[in-house]
């Protein structure tokens, strides 16, 4: 199968048992594991969200992919090439977490500087820099030194330098960080544009609604280990299902229906969650009590709930290990 950028489809990122340990202590004899046996793939043309709380191992994974740090064991390949292949970086765009660039340069100068590493002609560089500045909404601030930029503006410069050379694979470390709602919307639009152009995008985030909205698949990493991977709807589907009933009920009839105590009231409407097997008896009771049923739907846990469930489980496990260690 061919995708829009003309390359053969296949995994854009292949990660095999990637582990990173950092030695610490006076003699570096102790080891802290930041990433433990991570194996996963990101397919060509998909938007992949890498989710996890702070310190979960997201940035460590991305830095390993970008060859900024070296694995203790395991390996990874980007676009079919090992991460140590520097030339492969011609096809990769990278936005570091909380990006910081040479503050004595203007945005246009920074982009022009980075463009020089892609062997572009002077005219092509100039045209691309102007186009990118416009694309990230910095066309009027392009001639101001970066030391005067806000965090959000630096994030935009970071995004511009990541996609300046029209890469096939774009890796973004917390691209929404530091952006206001307008900036986040613009970044989301850029990610969707890149997807439509056939690019593969991997981005890390802890802003779950963004991941839910943008990603074909997500991977959740907690405590350096991959806890789940799949489509956002699929990954949360493993939780037990509940049903939600939305209804109205006259004040005088409330005493006839004991389940009402469990419902939450908003204005003149009630919202009640019951287990899937209890939905029909509840509806029957509600009808007998004179209630008017407005809406019945299956409740799927959100990605956030799933995420919080994993984090809580990891913390409980860490606490148990600490107690048993004592």
């Amino acid at each position: 199968m061919l995708v829009n950028n003309g390359s053969m489809a296949g995994p854009a990122i292949e990660i095999d048992k990637l582990t990173k340990e950092y030695p610490y202590g006076f003699l570096h004899l102790k080891k802290k594991t930041s990433l433990e046996g991570l194996s996963m793939q990101v397919e060509t043309g998909e938007v992949f969200g890498f989710l996890g709380p702070n310190g979960a191992g997201k940035s460590t994974t991305i830095k390993l992919l970008m060859n900024l740090i070296f694995p203790t064991s395991g390996s990874a390949r980007l676009l079919g090439k090992p991460t140590t292949d520097v030339e492969m970086h011609r096809d990769i765009g990278y936005l570091p977490e909380q990006p910081y660039f040479y503050d004595y340069l203007t945005a246009a100068e920074v982009l022009d500087y980075f463009a020089k590493f892609y062997d572009l002609s002077d005219a092509d560089r100039k045209e691309r820099v102007a186009r990118m500045l416009k694309r990230v909404g910095l066309e009027t601030a392009g001639k101001i030194q970066l030391r005067k930029y806000s965090k959000g503006m630096l994030q935009r410069v970071g995004l511009a330098q990541a996609i300046l050379h029209d890469p096939k694979l774009v890796i973004l470390d917390e691209p929404m960080s530091g952006l206001d709602p307008v900036g986040r919307r613009e970044v989301r639009d850029i990610i969707l544009e890149l997807k439509n152009a056939g690019k593969t995008i991997l981005f890390s985030t802890h802003i779950l609604p963004d991941a839910e909205m943008l990603c074909d698949r997500v991977g959740v990493i907690v405590g350096g280990k991959l806890q789940g991977i799949g489509a956002p709807g699929e990954i949360v589907g493993i939780q037990a299902h509940q049903m939600e009933i939305l209804f109205t009920l006259a004040e005088l009839e409330q005493s006839k229906w004991p389940l009402l105590a469990a419902a939450t009231r908003t204005g003149d409407r009630y919202r009640l969650q019951v287990a899937e097997q209890d939905v029909y008896p509840a509806l029957e009771q509600l009808r007998n009590a004179g209630g008017k049923i407005l809406f019945v739907a299956q409740v799927k846990p959100s990605l956030e709930e799933y995420f919080m469930h994993l984090v809580a489980a990891d913390r409980a496990q860490a606490a148990a290990v600490e107690v048993s260690g004592k």
Binding site: N67, I69, H89, F101, Y104
Partner: protein, 258 residues
């Protein structure tokens, strides 16, 4: 070459925009003051005083720049995390180091040339003319630049492997020790003991021999500097820088950017 040029040019631009070249104002004031004063307090040795003072100032200012900026070349990029975006481009780590080295040596060359112009203006002011032996001053300046290139290479090596503060201390230590290489080689075993004398002798060959680059006395007296010394110093500085930069690149290529 394009990559080295881009990184080098950016390093130069950083020095210019961070107002590093403002030191030239200090040097200009020093030379103007010396030129005016020297005519009043010395008779017949104006040229010696001006050349000695000028070359010492060029060397000292250059040394400060080479050590402090040199140490910051890598550590600043890592501390500010600007290196992340750069190394994500098709840039090899040794290219980054060599580009930084080239950029700072170019900055030092521009700075040294500007100071040299000031020195020659002061010389013209006190002598009212320039003569052929004054060319020795140019060679002395060239030697200072070679010496500074070695210091920059050492600063890069240390900053790739340790903290900025320790790097500065190591550079200072190497510079001082490298200025006493002949004394280390001539240490008598009956005074220091045979083991200490042997260790000093070995060390003296590992350390950069900065003594060979100091021809201020010859230049101040307008004496001829042998062509063999020019060739020897050029080759020595080139080789020493290459070995030190290769070691720095080897260390840097294994560095994790946490």
């Amino acid at each position: 070459m394009t990559h080295l040029g881009a990184i080098g040019l950016n390093t130069f631009r950083e020095a210019v925009r961070d107002r590093v070249l403002y030191n030239l104002v200090f040097f200009a004031l020093l030379m103007m003051g010396a030129a005016v004063l020297v005519g009043q307090i010395s008779i017949g040795i104006e040229e010696i005083v001006i050349v000695s003072l000028g070359l010492s100032a060029i060397s000292f200012i250059g040394l400060l720049m080479a050590v402090f900026i040199g140490v910051g070349l890598v550590s600043k990029e890592m501390d500010k995390r600007t290196i992340y975006a750069l190394l994500a481009k098709p840039v090899r780590r040794w290219e980054f180091l060599l580009g930084k080295f080239t950029g700072l040596v170019f900055t030092l060359a521009v700075n040294t040339l500007a100071m040299s112009a000031g020195l020659f203006l002061a010389l013209v002011y006190v002598k009212h003319t320039l003569e052929r032996p004054d060319a020795a001053v140019l060679i002395a300046i060239y030697f200072i630049l070679l010496k500074l290139a070695i210091v920059v290479a050492l600063a890069l090596l240390f900053s790739c492997s340790t903290t900025s503060l320790l790097s500065i201390l190591y550079c200072a230590g190497f510079y001082v020790a490298g200025s006493f290489v002949q004394q280390m080689r001539g240490l008598r075993s009956d005074l220091a003991g045979p083991v200490a004398a042997a260790i000093m002798r070995w060390l003296s060959y590992l350390l950069p021999n900065f003594e060979n680059f100091n021809v201020t006395g010859l230049a101040a007296h307008g004496e001829r500097i042998p062509g063999a010394l020019i060739l020897q110093n050029t080759l020595y500085a080139g080789l020493y820088c290459a070995v030190v930069l290769a070691a720095a690149a080897a260390i840097f290529s294994r560095r994790n950017f946490k």
